[in-house]
Amino acid sequence: MATASTTFAPGPWERPLAKTLAIYFKEAKYEFLTRLRLRAYSLSTILFPLMFYVLFGLVLNQKDAAVGGTTITTYLIPTYGAFGVMGASLFGTASGLAAERGLGWLQVKRASPMPPFAYFTAKVAIGVIFSTIVVLLLLLLGVTFGGVHMPLLDAAKLVGILVAGSLPFCAMGLAIGYFVGPNSAVATINLIYLPLSFCSGLWVPIMFLPHLMQKIAHLLPPYHLAQLALGVVGAGQHESSLAHWEALIGFFLICLGVARLGFQRDEGKMYG
């Protein structure tokens, strides 16, 4: 505790890159364990889409039923996949952020030398990882019990699209997490997530919805994700996939912007 220790070595200090990456990894690893052990999250986000698939795809359905030439069991993988991705992404980011922000834990982490973005990256990583798990399990169910045949390349494409599609919903989750209280997060997400899924044709194929709802669906991000995924199995609405990507990217950027506003508002409260 000599006087010398009270002054800095000259020059700006930077954490070595390897060390920074190690922190990002550890943050994500422990976020994963936290969420995995939190049954309310891990079981519900994984089991709900699978349960729906089993119910409406496997049990309540004749094997030869089809939607516009695609078997129901195949058709429902992209749609319940998009549904599962949304759930895993929204709950994986928003509920944790809202609680940790509102109940002081984020502040403990911010007082430490943790790189602030490691925290957000971990949340997003968990949304992406659980999304991947849901989609893979859906595919497994479909292939094993639903008689789904799909070239490996198509399967990979489907997984790729759905997992990439989790990013805008993770951003949406962060935005929600910044603007809801710790106790209302789950209710708020359900209020957004369930109607949005239905109106985007994730539960009932979009062409079975009233015409007006089909029109409105074009304004909803999950619709575009589902259409991109359905395109892989040849069951899309035959719209330009570029337009779907544009819609999703636009939505992603808007959500990031809102999340950033929330972040700055909080920092203002903390640092202002």
């Binding site: 505790m1 006087t3 220790s5 009270t6 002054t7 800095f8 700006p12 200090w13 954490r15 060390k19 190690a22 922190i23 550890k26 943050e27 422990y30 364990l33 936290t34 969420r35 052990r37 939190l38 944790g96 609680a99 940790e100 109940l103 002081g104 834990w105 502040q107 403990v108 911010r110 007082a111 430490s112 030398p113 943790m114 790189p115 710790p182 903390m270 640092y271 202002g272």
Partner: protein
């Protein structure tokens, strides 16, 4: 009685000031949480920031941690701004937190926080220092209140920081857990660390601190060693059964107040020893002698009341 800042600096540890608020004010809207507060923590000392709820203790700690910016004045920690990551690698913090992720194990929480620091302690060392060896594999949600506080304490010390800020570390703990945490805080000082803790228990400040800074309504109202703080308010309390006349005792130098207490006398004085000498000399039959630090909580109440009131009460 209460030492001024300058006197304390001369009398106190020789270390340099490593964390300080300089004329720091902090407003939250209309509320003035801190008003031109000046104080510093010197290397190697344990300072207690003592005050009732809402006095501004937590705000002061947040300023020092860079979690809030002063409305006016400056904050300096290790000669820099505590927002800088480099400064933060030398700081450990224990804050009041309503909820901690409950499904992580104790050792996992520590492992994660250790990774933020350039030269953390070994996991085993941290566990030992915070007394967590036996519960290292438990999930946070399964722990008792005292154990939870010790985990938060472990997170503050795991990075082997030079200075630790502990905001109300023992609030809500039972007596045994509190004493256990005190022991652990003392171990830190023995390791050469600097500690600033906030508390609203005078007893805690007395048990741990080299120096006590009393804060109320956003202002520092007293500063000194625990003994000075106590003496400056109501001093020591002597109880005895004596045949001495109450007026005689009152006339002894240093006596602040005398009153009948059951069948004996209760004497308040700044210092006990000179009065005891007089009493024992004048009354060889004196019995039932009991000397204590006059009502700690009472002293604290006096200190934190409006200063005008405080002056009236001590005179």
């Amino acid at each position: 009685m209460i030492a001024t800042l300058q006197e304390t600096k001369k009398a106190g540890h020789g270390g340099a000031v490593i964390a300080s608020l300089h004329r720091a004010s902090k407003n939250f809207g209309e509320v003035q949480a801190l008003r031109r507060v000046d104080f510093g923590v010197r290397a190697g000392e344990l300072v207690a920031l003592l005050g009732p709820n809402g006095a501004g203790k937590t705000t002061a700690v947040k300023l020092l941690l860079g979690l809030a910016k002063p409305t006016a004045g400056t904050v300096s920690v290790f000669g820099g701004d505590p927002i800088e990551a480099e400064v933060r690698t030398r700081i450990g913090a224990m804050l009041q937190v309503a909820k901690v992720p409950e499904t992580l194990r104790v050792s996992e929480h520590i492992d994660l926080f250790s990774s933020y620091y350039p030269k953390p302690l070994l996991l085993a060392e941290t566990l030992a220092l915070a007394g967590l060896q036996e519960i290292k594999n438990r999930e946070f949600g399964e722990l008792s209140g005292g154990q939870r506080q010790r985990v938060l304490f472990a997170l503050a010390l795991c990075g082997d920081p030079d200075i630790l800020f502990l905001d109300e570390p023992t609030v809500g703990l039972d007596v045994e857990s509190r004493r256990q945490l005190w022991e652990e805080i003392r171990k830190l000082i023995a390791r050469g660390k600097t500690v600033l803790l906030t508390t609203h228990y005078l007893e805690e400040a007395d048990a741990l601190a080299d120096r006590v800074v009393v804060i109320n309504r956003g202002e520092i109202i007293a500063e000194g060693t625990p003994a000075q703080i106590k003496a400056g308010t109501v001093g020591r309390r002597i109880r005895c059964v004596s045949s001495l006349d109450i007026e005689t005792v009152r006339a002894l130098p240093g006596v602040i107040e005398v009153r009948r207490h059951r069948d004996g006398l209760e004497i308040r004085a700044a210092e006990a020893e000179p009065i005891l000498r007089e009493l024992l000399m004048r009354d060889p039959k004196l019995s039932g002698l009991d000397v204590s630090s006059a009502g700690l909580e009472e002293a604290f109440l006096v200190l934190t009341q409006d200063r005008r009131d405080a002056r009236e009460m001590t005179r």
